[in-house]
């Protein structure tokens, strides 16, 4: 029988039951690979459920550093009888199926083209542990132990992780080590270890960290100076505010009074969460909230108020599959348009598109500055994959000389110098006007903030010309913001191909890998990664300089493509959508296939070339 063979290049999938403590064992596995210096990309594929339903953890290990998802499972660790038929079927020909053989596998699940490795996980726990909960938990550690023998994971690395994990709870270390050893010995004594699919220490991780985007965003909010964080629970954004609170509790307690230099407020709904952000930001605090698609819908009325009344609010949208409740535990990039144009009337909002945890950190901190500078909502567009899965990322960094930008806020002294304060008077010609905070000056600078139309002095008016002056200035301000948001990343010094690709966010991993795959086939393309909306000039230049531009994104309707067409007045046929929207992160193979479909002739040439070789 065929054997898959590879060193540091595999996809391993764990099939578990939700709520059985498998996550920590699976994390231990991924971290061990990472600590062996090998790039790793784990993904949780979980149900909208707390206990009992199937859940998977898929880890791609790739020493070239490709971190996108890849189709096909080389090694399956199946601990869940519920999903067994599916799990058996998903293993690649020549791959390995590791299962609990305490009970014999039904013959209908025996495939001739894969290898079966039985580890009596339940049997071993029954034999060695007394408490039912322990039996359930250590079953997971046993398979990690077995994998350590089968894939050649360094045992000291696993020991180190357990020591870190149970620091302060040392008595839990010994039973964990025992479970590791039980699995290890069983594999060692019954199978030829390691398998032909295996790992080997490398030095490819360097100073990178393995962290999820939500934690990085939460840290970004702490570092960016957010003090008021109202929120409402919604997957997949909940862990973002949790992370903010965790680190704020660590780093933001007044040493003398032990009181908090922050407030995390669980609101009654997303409307109220956004209302509280608006109130706090209006009053001069740096405030933010996090939500997902349904929350953005609920916040839309308020986002319009913040746009029109010019309040610096920050929102992190951790996108998930829509519409409606959609696929609440699966990933997509489906809120590009609903975020860019959220609310009724003519509105446009600044969007940032982080593509890895380091950028999650930076964009969240930057959003707090940008929102205050621009006095408008800034939305950080993360997604479930980025937010909830661990990603290998460059370390987070902070420049200690950095000052928080509070934007154009007048002090009492400033007000003394001004003859007449006009809240909406465009003094600098950039569309950004000066504001005052409540409580600044006893007799000067007070004004009425409102969602209704007003003149330059914040006086209510229904005069058409004043309204037009105001909304035109808002448009001017939006143009100014294009110069302040992060520029796109270009992957070539000079464009050299006829065709280009555009991508953003978590699509980046798979897109970069696809570019390499296409290059191997003789199709070299220029690439641009969007980092923000509004688009700056580099984006329109890139599109102008190419014949065809593929826009790769993870939604059905090609929303970023629509936004590009609408904002840059591009000929629609020039932008070719490359889409994935099944709720799983897009793969390089899919991108490659879809792009090749657009080049029937080139594809033929490539085939001919391959045939000649």
């Amino acid at each position: 029988m065929e054997h898959l063979r590879s060193v540091n290049d595999l996809v391993i999938r764990f099939a578990n039951v939700n709520g059985t403590g498998s996550a920590s064992a699976n994390n231990m596995f991924a971290k061990a690979v990472f600590r062996m210096g090998i790039p790793v990309s784990p993904k949780n594929i979980f149900p909208s459920n707390i206990q009992g339903l199937p859940t998977w953890y898929e880890v791609r290990i790739n020493e070239k550093g490709y971190l996108g998802r890849r189709e096909g499972v080389d090694v399956m660790v199946c601990v869940n009888p519920q999903s067994l038929p599916r799990d058996v079927a998903s293993v690649k020909k020549g791959g390995y199926f590791i299962y609990d053989n305490t009970k014999r596998l039904h013959p209908e699940y025996i495939r001739e083209d894969i290898h079966y490795i039985g580890v009596p996980m339940t049997g071993l726990t029954m034999q060695h542990y007394n408490e039912p909960r322990q039996r359930q938990l250590f079953k997971n550690v046993i398979y990690v132990g077995a994998l350590s023998a089968l894939l050649d994971i360094e045992m000291e690395v696993l020991h180190g992780i357990i020591a870190d994990q149970f620091r302060g709870k040392e008595k839990l270390i010994a039973p964990n080590l025992k479970a590791l050893d039980l699995g290890y010995q069983h594999a060692k004594n019954n199978y030829a270890c390691p398998l032909e699919v295996r790992l080997e220490r490398r030095d490819h991780v360097k100073d990178c960290i393995l962290i999820d985007g939500n934690t990085a965003c939460g840290l970004g909010a702490v570092y960016g100076g957010a003090t008021v964080a109202p929120w409402y629970p919604i997957t997949p954004s909940t862990s973002l505010v949790d992370a903010f609170e965790k680190y704020a509790r660590k780093f933001r307690i007044d040493p003398e009074t032990k009181k908090k230099r922050y407030a995390v407020i669980q609101a009654e709904d997303e409307l109220a969460a956004m209302g509280m952000v608006i109130g706090a930001a209006w009053n001069g605090a740096r405030a933010f909230t996090a939500t997902s698609g349904p929350g953005v819908s609920l916040m839309s009325e308020f986002l319009g108020l913040a746009y029109f009344a010019e309040i610096p609010v920050v929102l992190v949208n951790v996108q998930r599959g829509g519409p409606s409740t959609g696929m609440p535990t699966r990933t997509q990039q489906p809120d590009i348009l609903s975020s860019a144009y959220a609310s009724h009337g003519d509105t446009r909002h600044v969007l940032l598109f982080p593509s890895n945890p380091k950028e999650c950190f930076e964009h969240t901190a930057m959003a707090l500055d940008l929102a205050n500078r621009l006095q408008t909502p800034v939305i950080v567009m993360s997604d479930l994959d980025l937010g909830m899965n661990d990603h290998m990322s460059p370390p987070l960094s902070w420049d200690d000389s950095r000052k928080y930008d509070m934007g154009k806020v007048l002090s009492a002294d400033d007000l003394e110098q001004i003859e007449q304060f006009g809240r909406y008077l465009d003094v600098d010609g950039d569309g950004i006007t000066y504001r005052t905070l409540p409580g600044t000056h006893p007799t000067k600078g007070a004004f009425f903030t409102r969602g209704t139309s007003k003149d330059e002095y914040a006086r209510y008016t229904e005069a058409g010309d004043a309204y037009v002056r105001n909304v035109d200035r808002l448009l001017k301000k939006f143009k100014t913001s294009a110069k302040l948001v992060p520029p796109p990343e270009l992957y070539q010094k000079k464009n050299h191909s006829k065709h280009g690709v555009i991508f953003f966010g978590t699509t980046t991993y798979a897109a970069l890998e696809a570019l390499d795959l296409l290059k191997e086939q003789g199709l070299e393309m220029d690439a641009l990664r969007l980092a923000a909306y509004p688009f700056n000039e580099a984006v329109s230049e890139f599109i102008d300089e190419h014949e065809k531009v593929f826009v790769i994104e993870q939604n059905r309707d090609g929303q970023m493509r629509t936004l590009l067409i609408n904002e840059l007045e591009v000929f629609p046929k020039k932008l070719i959508p490359v889409l994935n929207y099944d709720g799983m992160p897009i793969t390089a193979d899919r991108i490659e296939q879809l792009i090749l479909q657009s080049f029937p002739e080139e594809k033929m040439e490539v085939h001919v070339q391959n045939g000649m070789n």
């Binding site: 702490v222 230099r261 407020i265 706090a280 209006w282 001069g284 405030a287 409540p438």
Partner: protein, 350 residues
């Protein structure tokens, strides 16, 4: 109708402790209908702030949408104001309060704004005990959209645009007491003697202070049979007590008959003096308040006065254990943990 407010002020107008005259607390000319109850409430707010010598810029006024929510334009023009979104003022006030605990927050709303579209935010602001005064100008109808029924319209009431109302009225004070509100009062726009001290006490209260003020809509809901009309309220007004608000520095000199008065000491040392108390009535007792309200409702009375107060009230900042200084005053040194800490955080993820 007057369009311009004269700027002339008599040099001998009385001044408060800060040297301000009452007109320093006024706002633009009202554009509400002549005789609107809301304008009387605005005047009572002006009077209260003047008498309490509040620095106008130390107060922020917030509102939702509707006739009532327009009023912040008509008082305290030296205070920052925020006329927000229909029914959503409570969340904005909550956020504002979290950002700066040092200001006084005065929220103005109406029965449509609070009892219908904003009911969720209203009760949650109560539950969180946001330190603010929350005035509902309650006229039992939607004025700005021309007289539809509201959630506080009388059952069986008949409005100009809404027709016959089949649904029971929501009683905001009972609801607030039920929700755990720490200061609940009801008054009448036409009773300034009662309303002014109640506004002052509400400002002194450390926590959410609800004032449900019956405020007749002269255009759409002022027929004598409406419980929100001038005639009805005057005929059926039943005060639980009369109330004096005594700032800390003033000595209390008047004494009342035993059993007929109560002193409630406030968080800041000031005192609410209740006298001519209704029998079997203790405004510090939630049960007695609920009982009395239900009785009044059964009798068709409009029960006014301070209905419930918890002098031990802990506001949201106290519950959340936030620092004593306003969060909006904190800067990099207090907020940013710095790069060396970040290095340690990075290490946790390796």
């Amino acid at each position: 109708m007057t369009y311009i407010k004269p700027k002339f002020r008599h040099p001998e107008l009385p001044k408060n402790d800060l040297g301000y005259v009452k007109s320093d607390y006024e706002g633009a000319i009202s554009t509400l209908c002549a005789g609107c109850g809301h304008d009387s409430i605005s005047a009572a707010i002006v009077q209260s702030c003047f008498e309490l010598s509040i620095e106008p810029h130390r107060l922020a006024k917030l509102s939702g949408i509707g006739c009532s929510s327009k009023t912040p334009t008509y008082f305290l023009s030296n205070s920052h104001g925020f006329n927000s979104v229909h029914g959503r003022m409570p969340s904005i006030a909550t956020g504002a309060n979290m950002a700066n605990r040092d200001l006084i927050y005065l929220g103005v709303s109406g029965d449509g704004d609070s009892a219908s579209i904003g009911m969720g935010q209203f009760v949650h602001a109560i539950r969180k005990n946001v330190n603010m005064v929350y005035i509902v100008m309650n006229n039992g109808c939607y004025g700005l959209t021309k007289g539809q029924n509201s959630a506080t319209t009388d059952l069986g009431g008949f409005s100009k645009a809404g027709g016959l109302n089949h649904y029971p009225a929501i009683d905001l004070v009972s609801l607030a007491i039920e929700m755990g509100a720490t200061f609940v009062g009801r008054s009448f726009s036409g009773d300034k003697n009662q309303l002014v001290p109640m506004i002052k006490a509400a400002i002194a209260h450390q926590g959410f202070a609800l004032l449900d003020v019956v405020s007749p809509c002269v255009t759409f809901n002022n027929k004598a049979e409406s419980t929100k009309s001038y005639d009805y309220v005057r005929a059926h007004l039943e005060a639980t007590s009369t109330i004096d608000y005594v700032p800390e520095k003033e000595e209390i000199t008047v004494s009342y008959e035993a059993g007929m008065s109560a002193l409630v000491e406030m968080h800041d040392g000031s005192v609410i003096q209740l006298h001519k108390l209704a029998p079997n009535w203790d405004p510090r007792d939630r049960f007695s308040a609920v009982r009395r309200l239900q009785k009044a409702q059964a009798n068709g009375e409009v029960l006014t006065g301070l209905l419930y107060i918890d002098p031990e009230s802990k506001d949201m900042h106290e519950l959340e254990q936030t620092v004593d200084v306003p969060l909006n005053s904190l800067r990099e040194a207090e907020l940013c943990p710095g790069s060396s800490v970040l290095e340690r955080v990075n290490a946790e993820f390796r």
